[in-house]
Every structure is written in C-alpha cells, then in structure tokens.
Symmetry: C2
Amino acid sequence: MAKLHLCSPAGFRASGVYAGIKSREVPDVGMIVSDFVASAAATFTTNKVVAAPVIVGRKHIANGRLHGIVVNAGNANACTGKQGLADARMMCHLAGIAIGCDETQVLPSSTGIIGHLLPMDKIERAIGHAGHALGRDREHALNFSDAILTTDLVRKEAATTVTIGGKAVTIAGVCKGSGMIGPRMAVPHATMLAYLTTDVGAAPIQLRKALARASDLSFNAVTVDDHTSTNDTCVLLASGMAGAKLANARAAAAFQDALNDVCQSLAYQIAADGEGATKVVKIRVKAAKDEMSATAIARTIANSPLVKCAMHGNDPNWGRIVSAAGYAGVAFDPDRCTLQLQGVTVFRNGKPAEFNAATLSKKLDAKEVDVLLDCRLGKGQAICFTCDLSKQYVTINADYHT
Amino acid sequence: MAKLHLCSPAGFRASGVYAGIKSREVPDVGMIVSDFVASAAATFTTNKVVAAPVIVGRKHIANGRLHGIVVNAGNANACTGKQGLADARMMCHLAGIAIGCDETQVLPSSTGIIGHLLPMDKIERAIGHAGHALGRDREHALNFSDAILTTDLVRKEAATTVTIGGKAVTIAGVCKGSGMIGPRMAVPHATMLAYLTTDVGAAPIQLRKALARASDLSFNAVTVDDHTSTNDTCVLLASGMAGAKLANARAAAAFQDALNDVCQSLAYQIAADGEGATKVVKIRVKAAKDEMSATAIARTIANSPLVKCAMHGNDPNWGRIVSAAGYAGVAFDPDRCTLQLQGVTVFRNGKPAEFNAATLSKKLDAKEVDVLLDCRLGKGQAICFTCDLSKQYVTINADYHT
C-alpha cells in the first residue's frame, strides 16, 4: 500500500505555494479543499489574546460545515487590530473565489511572528496560485504540510485506515509546531496547528466530540515551552465519501481509536521536533490521586527547565523530577512513590535507590527517554510528552525576530 | 559608616568553614549564633517533597525562639528518608554543643544536590570548627554568606538601619539562590535560603507577620526557573539588643518598611545572579483586574522561556509578552492594554505601535530591562523579577550532577 497522506481520504485536494512571506523559498501559503461541503469540527486556543484568523475561523465553523482551509506561515496575523480581521476575512474571500464557495465556508489560519500586518499583495497572488495548484496526490499533500511549518525542522504527518460498517475509512492529518507549544487543558481545548481529513460520514456534533477526546490524549499532552499560542487551531474535515457513517457506538469507538492514533502520532512528532530538541521525554504518571492530579504532575515535570536540561545532559538527576512533582499543587507523597528512568528504579518510598549512574546515563542518551512515576495514591494516570532543553533552543529564540 | 553586614545588628556572631562537601575549597558549613535566645520567625517551602532540615526546622522554630542556625551547602539532605532526618537532628545537636544550647534551639538548613546522604563525618568536624570560628566582624559574616552558596556566582547581602522609638535598629540579611528558584505564592510563603538578623525587640508573632509581608514583596516575586525547591527557608532572628521594641503601629510600620527594603534587595540579587543570567528583567503589571490577576500575569510573563530568550537576544519581540499575558488564566483584554519596553511603547489597544526596532534593541542591551504592561481593567498591580535565559543556563544544568 502506498503511503497514506492528507488527500488519501476520498474527496480532498491540497496545495502549497511560495508567497514570499518566509525568507527561505519554501511553501508558505497552503489550501485544503473538500470537493463538496464537509462536516467539520475545530478546537482553538484558549489564550485571551486571540489572533484574527482564529476569531474569523470560529465564526465560519460555527455551523459545522466547511468547504476549505487557507493557511499562511511566517506571519501570525495576531495583535493586528481591525486591519488584521479584515485581512483574515480577505484570505477567506480569495480562497472562496478559488474554490467557488462563500467566504464563510473557508477557515483561515496563520502562524509566525506576532504583531505584523500580513503582506496582502503577496498573499492575494499566492492564494490564486494555490487554487490553481490543488491536487490529490502525495506531492500536493506534502506541499501543504510544508506550507504550514515555521521553526519546524521536519514535516509532520500521520494517517491510518479503519473499517467501519464494512467500509474502509481513512483518517489523515498534518500539523506544525516546534516552539510556543503549551496547549492548555481547558475546554474548549487548545491545540497547535493541525489539519485532519477523513472520508467517514459524520455529523458535526460527532466530529466535535471525537476531536475533543483525541485532543486531550494527544495535543493537550505535549509541551515544549508551555507557552500557549494566540493561533492554536485544530480542524477535522469529514467528506463522507467512504460510504460509511458513524451510525452506532461501535462505529464511533472504532473511529475514535483511529483518530486518537493519528493525533497521538502528530503530537509525538511535535515533541520530537521541539525547538532545539535532541530527544523526546515521555512522562508517565500512574496511581496518582485522580486523573487531574496525574496530569498536573506530568505537566509540571515536563515543564521544569531543570528536568529538561538534565535530560539534555543524560543526567540521572532524579531529585529534580521528584521535587517538580512536589510543587504541582496536587496530592503527592514522596514516601509512597517510586520513580523509574528508562526502567531503572532511582527513588523508592522517599529514599534513593541504588543504581549505577554511569550505566543509566548511557541509557538516557537515547532518542526517547521514559520517565515513570508511580504515586501509589489512587487510580489517576496521565502521559505527557516534552523534549529536552538545549543551547540550540536559546539560539533559535534569542535571534528569531530581529 | 562602615558597610553593614549580617553581624551588625547587636548580639549576633557568625562563621563559615570548609567541610569538604563542595568540590571547590570554599566555605560550605556556616553558623549564625545569637548571644542569647532570640525571637524568631521563618517561612518554608510549600513543596510536598520537603527536605529533612525543613521538617526538623519547622519543629524547632514552632515556639518562636532560636539560639542559632547551622547550614551546609553542596548537599540538600532531601529525599533521604529516616537517615536524613537523623542527620538533620544531629547537625542541630552538634551545633547545640558548640553554642551551649539544646538542639531544639537550632534551625538546620541544607542546599545542594537532592537524594544523597550527608557526609556526617565531614559535617561533624566542620560544625566543631564553625563553633570555634564564630565572630562579629564583617569577615565572619562574609564567611557565612559564602558558606550557603551553590551555583551562585556572587554572595548576596543587604542591610539597613531604621530609627524606632528613638533608637537605631539594624536589619541585615544574606541569601543564596541561582537555580531552582520559583517560590510559590501560597501561604505559608515559600522562599529560597535567606537569613535575616535584627537587634529590634519583637515577639515571634510580630516577626512572623512582618516576614510574611516582606516575603510577598520580595522573594515571592522572583523567579529564575519556576522550580520550587524542597529546601526553601527564610529565617529572621531578633536579638532585642538595640533597646527598641515594636511597641506600636508606627514602630511596626517603620520596621516593616526597612525589612521590605532588605528582602527586596536580596531578592533582586537572586534574579541578577540567576543561573546563566546576563540581565535582570523587571516586569511591572498595572491596572489589572485585581492584585491576584496582576501577580499571575507578571509571573506568567516572567516564566516564559520565549520571553526570557528574547530578552537575552535584546529582541523587542513583544508578541511573546502579550501572548504570555493572555494565557495567565486571569482577566486580560489586549484591546485595552499598553505595553512598554524600556519606556518605549510597542503595543497599544490591540495593535502594534510604531517604534524603531534597532534603537529599542540597543536599549534592551542593559543590565536591567523594564517591562511595563498597563492592563486598564482595574486597580491590581504587581512586580516580578526574573532574568534572561542563556546558553550558559543549559551548560550549568545539563552538567550539574554527573
């Protein structure tokens, strides 16, 4: 089977073109178009500072229907006042002309620097080109996935198939995210930029429910710098062209599992490509008082710069992990808990465990580090993904703008 | 007037000696001794993982009286189980012998790596030496202030005099803190290691009230990495030997102001000596909905690695500051607010303000950067101090342990 991509679900075309917003000559304006009006659901940032495309996108998706998505990278169109709102609407208007639909059937997204007006002359030309460049093959899907990247080093895509009602249903997604990654666990859920397509038939309310759950288990469990963006957006479009519907609980569960898989793969890729990252740190908390406590502990550990630096240095400095758990603001008793790094017990019942630091340090020198904290307080569990903190992170973020 | 120091308040002696816990040959065990039993108050970490000396110290100060303080650096005696508790009590016992008092009249502190038992043979010898080495002059005070340092590059001291009831009262303090600095705003207040002496006469309850307020305005407003330590301790000893008492509201207010000054100076020195810091970033939030909101916004901005990297790069990337304010979880309306960097308006009423980026970047290349966010929502205000995030931070923390 050929590798699945964003346009593998029946009924979708995509494109990515260079508008001249990014300094490197790589795609920076992209479109996804559904052949017919699609069922749609989205989740957006919970930041109180909301970028113009998010304000416009929320309105356009309110009725659960979309015909297309238009995205630019290199400029976030955030903190840009009334002109920014007009520009976001104009992006939809121009995409609507290319698609042949009303501007209210298009969802806009932008990502990049905050506080600069979009170069609308470049964007207008690029959207025209992107409309002509739409296609259904892998190359077109990849052009779109490249068009949404900013400080990302690699494109991020995932896809799967699932049989529902005897029919093969495909779910595919692409996303971007490397810095300013700290989605908030609030409802509605915050995410980074992610676009998902499927050919299942589903009502908007079914998609909303499935997307909320999948977000919780994926994008909401990844953090690079805990900085919630003004532009976070995740959209799921369903064309219905597979001939299968979410007609019963079994179908919904099968779809949910497959959607979770796609979203978790994308979220993992974001952690792996976190700014300056050399490894993924997977933090598993089990037997916390409840799920909320487990999540708070996992996230507090994941966000500690001291923990992230220790992971960068392959340093089994477990005191930083246990002390981070202690200030998560939820129930935690060091005298009951056990901590394992890469399967090696380093702390048990309030006391250090014997281990060979040199051997463990070698084990920490891996592309993925597993941190397992068993709290022995209850049944709450959570997983959070982060990356290490390197000098490269400072290089990237001290010189991004000027 | 000679420069004031920790032993300038009448009735205190101090010392610092090398026990061999630190790898560099600098003092690592110190004592402060009051000539007579002193009134005392302390605040401790709110981390659920509490180091042995904090557990012991809380008990010993419960009656508001102390005769001395014994501290070691290089080893935190945290996550060390029952043996750790016995070792902390033994430190008090040995110091009590040197002072000539009961072990329950001594408060112990430790700072350094978590999860290692104290080298008690070295500590025992060192406490004996420290008892013999006690003195009242500046050199002895400096030996103590050096003995409490870990990754700090400079010693931190502050002192002032205030006239109370016609008498000159002196307040002096030393502290340490460079990494794992993120005291929590909870009650009881968390702080880093700080030791304060005064010769005013005061009841323990008066000291507790004054210290809680001073902590809020100083140590609780500084963050380097938001990582609340297991060992944070702040102790205030009052000898009463100045002949002045906190006899009325006017005396209490004068003492409070002077104590605030000393604590704020110490807290500022911690931000300035934050791990890898090249500058202090002073974040002032005004006209927030209330003081809690102002504090949350200031602290969220102060903890954003993206903001801290931008400050390191002299980058007027104000979008990171406004977006951090937006995810503080409290009321915030970008369309009402104004942001100034070094006095230059960069954002006003939801829109970018015109400014010369190159000129502002030069202004950001300073030892102190002033960030002023006017929220225009209410009367809440707060100040938070942090430092920039440099590659040196990563170097220090990726290689600290192994």
